[in-house]
Subunit: 361 residues, 2 copies
């Protein structure tokens, strides 16, 4: 972050290459990757050097622009075929966050409508930049709308990372916290460390510290006790995919928070851009939940935590049924139950159909 | 573990010294400490080289025997004063687990009734050995009684470590699992890794592997999702202190499991020896909850996980209100709600009053 720009440069188009902040090395080190090959981008995504549903969408969009600009294809059909192949590779990196498939489909759609291979590459980059800009603006709008739900003096519990790093923009749940803070509401934040990859401890703490918002990190298992002791006023989290009925896939541990919030009569809010809402997924049961490598659980910072040969399960996400969700805060407005109606209504304006099963409106 | 003894040698009296398995180094290394100074023992307890409520009671009892045997006091009054001073030091190491105060009071009580300084040291050691033997037998009885609550083929979710390591004996919650396994019930175990100190990943996994019981380690945040997916049949945990009304203090994260179990209509059981029940503590609100150093949360295996200057809260325990507890499995029987009646009834036989606020019957 510089004085000119308060945001970290999460992902950007930089002289024909993609510049990526390596989030796996934060907070110890602020290192950047310069990527000129989509296979390298796919690997970086799988290794979670960039993560967060909206940021993944932006990165994937730039990835298609990269593929188009580097292509040796001379005719539009050949270029489109190469882009579709690249899109398929990028789409398969992380199955749960729908923003990835959504952004790829948007760039492909724009490319299909363009004339000529050169124009196609330019159109792809323009569309990627448009997606990026829209996510930044969506975050600001989510912050503005969501902040109204956060009372002055509140302690907000959040999970994983949903700030600039996760969105390549302003943030979703952290964006709500940030706007409330900027409004002078004296917000405090309880940050779940978010095992296994500690996005809360590593990334959300890093962002809140830079924003000057007071926070305390806790282990995930302490969140319930903090609610029970009356130390939490509301829970705000992000989302990786929201089904048509309002079921929410988000970082594993979110469902537990939702149940604990209900039990302690605390509001539980989900903040996400409409690019995260997938009306083609009817319910949470249909959302594919990524199972990540067991060694994220059985080792830590190179140190083995379990005995050799111990088995581990590592679902990266969980599904919070819509009945626990008090509101879904989007850039177009706040959806309330029943979500099948309110989400469809939010997406109704400007909706356009896309082809793939993984796509939306 | 040897072929002769299936149990690790957690704590023992060894030629006038205390031999302690350093649990902070498991599973990487099976290292032992030889302790001939109670200040070193107190430090080892604070550093959680030995932990688990029943094991702490046994270690503290041996600690008083050590103090008595090493004392230079020539008269009984002088020795008793020294022992009381040592007891106070050991009692203050970990405030939540009541077994510590209970065991110290038992050894002091026995010493007070003995004649002469030499006899007092012998009596202290005998009482410590008796406490140790009783905890081993209590674990076996808890296993036998508790196994009846575990259906054949069940997947049992457990938290922290409650096996031989935690009890210097057979185990409480792990004892229940172990007995059910030995009965041929084809039990599977889901092991919460249990941040911050990973007693589940490090210790419970180590024990279950040696016992040949199939298990899978998960991050604490995944427990809810496993319940929601129908992958859990019951939850069994240990306890550090059970109040007269049935409220249970146990490793942080336990309360979350209890709420999630209720929400998913799964039985939630607490397994603990009667030495963990404290009728002098009316409710969970009165149980002191130890706040441990923040760096257990902000660093891991020497690697800092949060940015410099990040604040962390680290309550080591939480309180699960009695209404979530389906049964308390003790060596004297299974207590069911209402606990104020059932726990008092269990402790009624052979009850004797002791003096300190922290002690029990």
């Amino acid at each position: 972050m510089t004085a000119e720009s308060p945001e970290p440069n999460v992902v950007s188009w930089n002289a024909g290459r993609i510049r990526l902040l390596d989030q796996s090395r934060l907070p110890a080190e602020e290192a950047y990757l310069e990527i000129d090959d989509c296979r390298v981008l796919a690997k970086a995504i799988r290794e979670m050097r960039i993560r967060g549903a909206p940021a993944l969408g932006v990165a994937a969009a730039y990835g298609l622009a990269l593929a188009a600009s580097r292509s040796s294809a001379v005719d539009p059909a050949g270029l489109l075929a190469q882009m579709e192949e690249t899109a398929e590779m990028l789409r398969s990196t992380r199955p749960t966050a729908v923003n990835l498939a959504w952004a790829l489909e948007r760039v492909l759609g724009a490319a299909r409508e363009s004339a000529g291979a050169t124009a196609m590459a330019e159109v792809a980059l323009s569309e990627a930049r448009r997606i990026h800009q829209e996510e930044i603006e969506a975050g600001r709008a989510i912050g503005r709308l969501g902040a109204e739900l956060v009372p002055a003096g509140a302690t907000v519990l959040t999970h994983c990372n949903t700030g600039a790093l996760a969105t390549a923009g302003y943030g979703t749940a952290v964006g709500v916290i940030r706007t409330a803070h900027e409004q002078g509401k004296r917000i405090r934040v309880l940050v779940d460390e978010t095992r296994p990859l500690l996005q809360g401890a590593r990334l959300t703490a890093w962002e809140l510290q830079r924003l000057g918002i007071p926070f305390t990190v806790i282990v995930d298992g302490a969140a319930g006790e903090m609610m029970r002791r009356g130390r939490v006023d509301c829970v705000v989290v992000g989302a990786d995919r929201i089904a048509a009925n309002g079921d929410v896939a988000n970082k594993v541990g979110t469902y537990s928070l939702a149940v604990l919030a209900k039990e302690n009569r605390l509001p539980f809010y989900v903040a996400a851009p409409t690019s995260t809402i997938d009306l083609s997924t009817a319910t949470g049961d249909e959302i594919p939940i990524e199972e990540r490598p067991a060694d994220e659980v059985t080792a830590f910072a190179g140190t083995r935590t379990t005995p050799d040969g111990a088995a581990a399960a590592n679902p990266a996400f969980d599904v919070t049924p819509a009945r626990y969700v008090g509101a879904v805060i989007t850039e177009r407005g706040i959806a309330r139950p029943p979500y099948d109606e309110s989400l469809a209504r939010l997406l109704g304006t400007g909706a356009r159909a896309v082809k793939t099963g993984a796509s939306k409106w």
